[in-house]
């Protein structure tokens, strides 16, 4: 009985991901610049969502400050590129390392003082704000002026005239992140994380090295967010502290997980695939009525939080399990 449900859930999961992958692969062939740009927005949100998913969805450490890691990624690669002429590809790796280190630092300080739940979330929020103020007021980090990435069409520069290449790069990043989480969640690592989320004390008493696992989850999560940050800087060509370190970026990491389903593999992907098109669609349909997209966005989040707490994906899985029991 139990085994059958697990198999079924697994199939649904695989089926969904496969469909999403097929859509994602066919999509750029059918679309021109505008649609590609929308597609890229979806994928950036999906990547941020997956990053948040590891730390908050699986390990249960709620973050309100993913903009910190996103911004660090964007800034590290951009500063290395502009001031030291280091290729953004290398800069991206460097940014991921910086973000992971900062993530571990934030985690260590918080967990060392036994911060949890809402308090931990507030600390992450504070760190993102501190970074924003720091970058805004430090001349060496370009201050409020921000960084302009010059536009040159070359692989080495991580710049392309053809947006399809950008699309496939961000798609590749999302696939990598998703595969990584997929593999991770089936191994000891993922199971330990879920155990920590469910009951930290119980997990600890059974020998799960709680602190160590939480820190590793944070590092991975931060590194993925940083990767999204570098991509963002290269694709849009301009960053400043009010663009990358703001709370709206942190929210962009959380919302796809709420809509799609936190702690599930396909949740953030589905979430992003719902939110951005909905936003664009309402913008297109209600031309002239400004703010309609925001109203729809707000109503949607309220509806999901009230009626569909597990998100689209989570609800389907639960129904599946519930149907049998």
């Amino acid at each position: 009985m139990e085994g059958e449900i697990v198999v079924k859930t697994k199939r649904v999961e695989q089926g969904t991901l496969l469909i999403l992958l097929v859509i994602a692969l066919i999509f750029p062939l059918l679309s021109e610049r505008y649609m590609l740009s929308v597609g890229i927005s979806i994928l950036i949100m999906a990547l941020l969502g997956q990053s948040w998913n590891i730390m908050s969805g699986y390990a249960g450490q709620f973050s309100f400050g993913h903009a910190a890691f996103f911004g660090l990624g964007a800034y590290t690669s951009s500063i290395l590129y502009i001031d030291f002429n280091i290729s953004p590809w290398v800069g991206m790796i460097a940014g991921m390392c910086v973000a992971a280190l900062v993530g571990v630092l934030i985690g260590f300080l918080s967990f060392r003082y036994k911060l949890r739940g809402d308090f931990f979330a507030l600390v992450t929020l504070a760190f993102a704000e501190i970074l924003r103020v720091l970058f805004n007021n430090t001349k060496a980090l370009k201050g409020a002026t921000g960084i302009l990435i010059p536009y040159k069409d070359a692989w080495k520069e991580f710049q392309f005239a053809n947006d399809r290449i950008f699309y496939f790069i961000i798609l590749g990043m999302v696939i990598l992140a998703t595969l990584f989480i997929g593999v991770m969640s089936r191994r000891k690592f993922g199971i330990f994380l879920i155990a920590i989320k469910e009951n930290q004390e119980a997990a600890g008493s059974l020998g799960v090295p709680v602190l160590q696992y939480k820190l590793v989850a944070m590092a991975i999560s931060a590194a993925i967010a940083a990767m999204a940050g570098t991509f963002y800087a290269q694709y849009y060509g301009f960053i400043d502290p009010t663009v990358v370190f703001v709370s709206s970026i942190s929210v962009e990491a959380i919302v796809p997980c709420i809509i799609g389903g936190a702690g599930t593999l396909g949740g953030p992907l589905l979430g992003a695939l719902v939110i951005i098109p909905l936003q664009e669609l309402s913008n297109n349909l209600f031309e002239g009525i400004n703010g309609m997209n925001m109203i729809i966005y707000g109503v949607l989040i309220v509806l999901f939080v009230v009626f569909c707490r597990d998100g689209i994906y989570g609800t389907v899985i639960r129904r599946l399990k519930g149907a049998r029991s």
């Binding site: 079924k8 199939r11 649904v12 089926g15 969904t16 469909i19 999403l20 859509i23 059918l30 679309s31 021109e32 610049r33 505008y34 649609m35 740009s37 929308v38 927005s41 950036i44 805004n136 007021n137 201050g143 409020a144 002026t145 921000g146 302009l148 010059p150 536009y151 005239a161 947006d163 963002y232 849009y236 060509g237 301009f238 400043d240 009010t242 663009v243 709206s248 589905l270 695939l273 719902v274 098109p277 664009e280 669609l281 913008n283 297109n284 031309e287 002239g288 400004n290 703010g291 997209n293 925001m294 689209i312 389907v316 129904r319 599946l320 149907a323």
Partner: protein, 393 residues
């Protein structure tokens, strides 16, 4: 088993369909000529963005009433930038998709950077309405043009116009400015050059534009008591600053704003009346000698029931610049031809307080300039340069 998979299938199919539908855009070569407008219409800058679009509409209506572009009507296609980079990029691409031959925008510098890159990639010209960051045109982009004075032009204007308001007994200067690109940019530029004029910088006070109080900043300013105070910021924060100063009854020898969002605004005068007499500001303005400017002012007041905010004047002029180019080019449906026509603009009849509108090879309006405005008896009066000065009736 099949039953359970259905919802996901349906969701996926619907989404795909909706996305494909949203991408459909019409293109017609014989009807109207479309100009795109990307401005923030929601969020904290919605008021400014909407004013910009309003002023653009007045320009569009004027041109259409005069017979359009060789008989063809102009149409403004407006899209909300949401005030974000990704929002602005998507908006600009959506507009290029619906067949616009030129783009205008964007009010904030970060969005302008993104849209100018989009313009470059799609080879559709962009005329920046308002975005003052200095490095905007430093990319070597071919398709981006800017009419408004940049941060460094405003700063240079300030240093140039200083001879009007400076007196020999002034020794010290302090700056209070919002800490983003625009406030910091102007404050840094002026403060690093003002010592040549014999003034000593005694204070540089930065604050975030979203602040809800400037009380401690004002206390510090009062203690510094500079001979010249230079405030730079947006409408709401600078109004807050003046409120604090007036309520505490602190007197500063001379207050001269630079591109100040409040000082040159009509609403500001309605709030404070003659209480703020004697304040100067170097800012955008219309040319008081231009008949067209008078038309713009009157029409805006008539249609929207309020005075045109000064930044929106550049929205109006952006449409005029594009219309002028469209009239001159052989094929107004070809963005490349429109781009070339804009690049060779030489507009003598316009609403701005400057000479000919003409772009250099980077796309910068070579004669762009602000003017020095003084608040006298609760009214804005242009006092410098002489050729644009309001002459009292």
């Amino acid at each position: 088993m099949r039953k359970h998979r259905k919802p996901i299938f349906i969701v996926a199919a619907l989404l795909l369909l909706s996305m494909l539908l949203s991408g459909c855009g019409g293109q017609d070569d014989t009807g109207t000529i479309k100009i795109g407008s990307v401005h923030p219409l929601t969020g904290s800058m919605a008021y400014e963005g909407q004013a910009m679009v309003n002023a653009q509409m007045i320009a569009i209506d004027k041109i259409n009433a005069e017979g359009g572009i060789n008989g063809r009507m102009l149409e403004l296609v407006v899209r909300d930038s949401l005030g974000t980079s990704s929002g602005a990029a998507n908006a600009a691409l959506k507009l290029t998709n619906s067949g616009v031959v030129a783009l205008t925008g964007t009010y904030t510098s970060s969005s302008a950077q993104v849209v100018s890159r989009t313009a470059e990639k799609t080879k559709i010209p962009l005329v920046i309405t308002v975005a003052s960051s200095d490095n905007l045109l430093s990319n070597g982009y071919r398709y981006t043009f800017r009419i408004q004075p940049s941060v460094s032009v405003f700063s240079k204007n300030f240093l140039e116009y200083m001879e009007y308001f400076i007196t020999p007994d002034m020794k010290t200067v302090a700056f209070i400015y919002e800490n983003s690109n625009y406030g910091t940019g102007i404050a840094d530029y002026i403060s690093s050059h003002i010592e040549e004029a014999g003034l000593e910088v005694v204070g540089m006070l930065a604050y975030p534009a979203t602040t809800s109080t400037l009380s401690s900043e004002v206390t510090r300013l009062a203690a510094l008591d500079p001979d010249l105070l230079v405030p730079i910021g947006y409408y709401s924060d600078q109004t807050l600053l003046m409120k604090e100063i007036l309520e505490r009854g602190i007197h500063f020898n001379k207050i001269v704003g630079c591109a100040n969002g409040a000082f040159s605004d009509a609403k500001f005068l309605r709030t404070y009346g003659t209480e703020v007499d004697g304040i100067y500001d170097i800012n955008y303005r219309y040319n008081p000698n231009s008949e067209e400017a008078q038309y713009m002012l009157d029409t805006y007041r008539e249609v929207y029931g309020e005075d045109i905010p000064v930044h929106a004047i550049y929205g109006y002029e952006s449409i005029m610049v594009i219309a002028d180019a469209l009239k001159r080019c052989d094929n107004p449906d070809d963005p490349e031809a429109v781009r070339d026509a804009i690049a060779t603009s030489e507009i003598t009849e316009h609403v701005l307080p400057q000479g000919v509108i003409k772009f250099d090879e980077t796309g910068e309006n070579i004669n762009s300039a602000g003017v020095l405005v003084e608040i006298r008896e609760g009214k804005h009066v242009i006092v410098y340069p002489e050729e644009y000065a309001d002459h009292e009736e």
